[in-house]
């Protein structure tokens, strides 16, 4: 049991924000495949795929409400296999944090601060995140309480402003699903796999006030963020066109840069940058916290905080060196690469073993308990 607790409401806010941040970053429903004007359908389909993965992740966690992945994986699969699985998931946290912050850095350097070194932007964000993770999950939860309304307001305004200027709003979404299911299914794959963000539930579940409800909370968060994703896909395609959005590095940012409601309401991309920054901050803080806490349990260190500094440095190094340029970063989010890496590496192998271990235990002992 852990002394630090966050409420399920705070968890809901965190999960909504970190998933929505991916939407406003590179909008995988549009950029990862050629769904074009049917991106909204891909967003809806990705909800079901992601919900399945959430059930896989959180379904196991709620069966061990007072244990983290590190504790129950050892119980289910034995010390070495269990720890091996844990290291994969913990590496995923490091990987996600590094990739997310690199995307954020690419956006800032490419769009706003061309002369600022990438490492400075990444380090600055990491320093803030490090302080949050050091302060603990309760502080991260309270930060979510504070930032969530501002985040939603900014995203909401970014989505409402373009509506007045769209010449042929629904017409731009035509022809509807004319090219069959293949492009839509292809475009749904990456947003589905990006639910790997919710792997944090494997560590966080015991830290919530109602651990048995974390699955429901996660599904609610997924539902809300999928609504935002669907609406965003519709508005981005309607505003900038399906082809331009698909060729854009950051389609949501492009859409906001294209807003001109009146002579005065324009150049409002700062809202997106801030919202992205808030989501980025919470996401990274969460990954760093979960990574350090998980690793401290694996290697038997009492306090995860001593690991935060070294992990943050590794994360900065990784985010700079994992991708040589934006092309490699975009390449990662293709169905071929991410499908193999995330789909098989982070989901299929670890969770198949864990669930098999769990089912074996249930059949053998008829209980989850260690005895």
């Amino acid at each position: 049991m852990t002394a630090e607790k966050i409420s399920n409401r705070q968890l809901l806010f965190i999960l909504i924000m970190i998933r929505t941040t991916i939407i406003i970053s590179f909008m995988p429903v549009i950029t990862s495949h050629d769904a074009l004007q049917d991106a909204w359908a891909a967003a809806i389909i990705s909800f079901f795929g992601a919900a399945f993965l959430v059930i896989i992740i959180a379904g196991l966690s709620i069966r061990f409400p007072d244990k983290t992945l590190i504790q129950y994986s050892e119980m289910l699969l034995g010390k070495w296999v269990g720890r091996g699985i844990c290291l994969i998931i913990l590496a995923a946290f490091l990987f996600m944090a590094a990739t997310d912050v690199r995307l954020y850095g690419e956006m800032l350097v490419g769009g706003f601060l061309p002369d600022t070194p990438m490492i400075f932007i990444i380090s600055a964000m990491t320093l803030v995140v490090l302080l949050a993770a050091y302060a603990g999950i309760e502080t991260i939860g309270r930060a979510a309480d504070l930032l969530f309304p501002v985040f939603i307001l900014m995203i909401g305004a970014s989505l409402l402003f373009p509506l007045s200027g769209i010449e042929d709003f629904l017409g731009n979404l035509e022809p509807v699903l004319a090219r069959g299911a293949k492009p839509v299914l292809g475009a749904a794959l990456i947003p589905t796999l990006v639910i790997s963000q919710y792997l944090a539930l494997t560590i966080l579940t015991p830290s919530t006030t109602e651990p048995r409800k974390t699955l429901l909370t996660a599904l609610q968060a997924l539902g809300y963020s999928s609504v935002i994703l669907t609406v965003s896909a519709i508005i981005v395609v309607s505003t900038v066109g399906a082809h331009r959005a698909a060729r854009s590095v950051f389609p949501f940012l492009l859409m906001v840069r294209s807003i001109q409601v009146t002579e005065f309401i324009e150049r409002i991309e700062v809202m997106v940058v801030f919202a992205w920054g808030f989501g980025q901050f919470l996401g990274m803080a969460l990954y760093l916290y979960c990574g350090a806490r998980g690793l401290s349990q694996v290697i038997g260190i009492a306090d995860y905080r001593v690991l935060l500094g070294p992990m943050a440095v590794i994360m900065i190094f990784f985010s700079i060196n994992a991708y040589r340029n934006i092309f490699q970063l975009r390449d990662f989010f293709t169905p071929e690469t991410a499908g193999t890496f995330i789909g098989i590496g982070w989901f299929l192998i670890p969770f198949t073993l864990l669930w098999l271990g769990y089912l074996y235990r249930r059949l053998k002992y008829g209980t989850n308990n260690e005895h």
Binding site: L113, T116, S123, I301
Partner: protein, 455 residues
């Protein structure tokens, strides 16, 4: 007493030991040592029992503050060090195969002058050349004493030569680079680009602001010009079965001639400045190349067919007396397109419902009530609208540029049919039958009914 500090003093003391929870824990001690032992430390409230020097805390604080303050430094731009571009224009030198860019740069010192001392012109037009659009833009750097800033360029002009050569690479440069905004207004210019940009406008002291105001006014009060933002133009370029249409500015004949221009701009006041340009009509593209022009009537037809535009003003003859005219202002247009196929051959029907107000009337008939005469006035208006639309269609078919987006309409409504037609759309479009049906409704007769009659 604290010893002199050295790097060694700040090395962390790390030792491994048994933790109270049974595992191995890492004990960290940060700090420096005084003669009496370890100097006062702040203890962090967790079980590892690590201690941190106040100096380290101050160090972290300073780093944190610098993180907040420093990120902007690399990209710091003070307003007095930048040259704000208000209008950007591209021309093409065919002999040298070079892009020519013209930038109208604001001169804030002149803009801030007192009302009486304010000069006619508060901007400077400068040009440069390059083999690509961006190269030309960057070549301006060596001519301007400040750093160019393109983020406030309100209008993007293309000369006829440039537009006929193709504007795709300029659109690409504008979308790819960071500063230019996609909410700038692209416009095609008929006439000398440099003369147009250098001319003085009667009511404004910069070309860009003056032209932008004319465009907005025309858009609001007399829809004879396709006002479009660059992002919408890009969308049109990329959509299948749809060609680009942008507004046209024509340099007035007296400014086309150098001598006339000098006499007009060297005048003593606004009353001596003749209108520089006419904002009306549209440029038709095929792909990214200009292939023809719409006059004002055809532009009205295009806007009516698309159900766009804000106000249209028509004049036509009185059904009872061909020598008398009446003027109508159309303030609402609803356009509905229908696609039918006959043996997999498309046929499109454009149905228009327009509502308008009588603005002037030279006839003698009573306008007190709905009558056969009022209905015949409506029919005349409907005929004018139909002719406008047909004119626009015929013009676009002549140059084989699907400016109305009929192919795009088929693409949206019947994707399979479009896939069949797409390879030979260039042959189908010039011959395509389009039916135009117009219903015109006189909403009101203005503030009076019958015309004034001599007593």
């Amino acid at each position: 007493m604290v010893r002199t500090m050295s790097t060694k003093d700040y090395l962390p003391v790390i030792r491994w030991g048994d933790s109270s929870e049974g595992g191995v824990s890492l004990h960290l001690r940060w700090g420096h040592f005084s003669e009496k032992g370890v100097s006062p430390h702040i203890r962090w409230g967790h079980s590892s029992g690590g201690v941190v020097s106040p100096h380290l805390i101050i160090g972290i604080f300073l780093v944190a503050i610098s993180v907040l303050l420093l990120p902007g430094c690399w990209d710091r731009k003070d307003p007095e060090t930048i040259a704000i571009v208000l209008a950007t224009a591209f021309d093409y030198d065919e002999e040298r195969n070079m892009y020519q860019v013209f930038a109208e740069i604001a001169v804030p010192r002149l803009m801030e002058a007192e009302e009486g001392d304010r000069p006619e012109r508060a901007s400077w037009v400068v040009s440069a050349e390059g083999f690509t659009p961006y190269k030309a833009m960057s070549n301006l750097t060596v001519k301007v004493p400040r750093e160019m800033f393109w983020g406030h360029s309100r209008i993007l002009l293309f000369s006829e030569k440039m537009a006929r050569r193709g504007i795709g690479d300029i659109i690409d440069a504008m979308g790819r680079t960071r500063q230019p905004r996609l909410i700038t207004r692209p416009v095609a210019v008929k006439g000398d680009l440099q003369k147009l940009m250098s001319a003085e406008l009667a009511l404004e002291n910069t070309f860009a602001i003056g032209m932008e105001r004319i465009i907005i006014t025309v858009k609001q009060d007399k829809s004879v010009f396709k006002d479009i933002l660059l992002i919408d133009l890009i969308r049109k370029l990329e959509e299948p079965g749809q060609e680009m249409v942008i507004g046209k500015i024509t340099l007035s004949p007296e400014h086309s001639n150098d001598n006339n221009r000098e006499s007009s701009t060297a005048g003593q006041g606004a009353e001596d400045v003749s209108p520089v340009a006419n904002v009306g009509g549209c440029a038709l593209f095929r792909g990214d190349r200009l292939v023809g022009w719409y006059d004002e009537n055809q532009s009205e037809g295009w806007l009516l067919a698309r159900g766009m535009g804000n106000r249209f003003v028509f004049t036509t003859t009185d059904p009872e007396d061909e020598d008398k005219y009446f003027t109508v202002e159309v303030f609402r247009v609803i356009s509905d397109w229908k696609l039918t196929t006959d043996n997999r051959e498309p046929r499109i029907k454009i149905q228009i419902q327009a509502e308008g107000t009588l603005k002037d009337y030279a006839g003698h008939e009573s306008l007190e009530e709905e009558s056969e005469y009022v209905r015949s006035l409506s029919d005349r208006c409907a005929q004018v609208i139909r002719n406008r639309i047909k004119d626009a269609l015929v013009k676009s078919q002549e140059v084989n540029a699907d400016a109305l987006g009929l192919g795009n309409f088929i693409y949206r409504k019947d994707y399979k049919l479009w896939k069949e037609l797409e390879p030979r759309w260039d042959e189908i479009f010039p011959e395509l039958e389009v039916d135009v049906e117009v219903i015109f409704i006189f909403e009101r007769s203005g503030l009076i009914t019958d015309p004034a009659r001599p007593g």
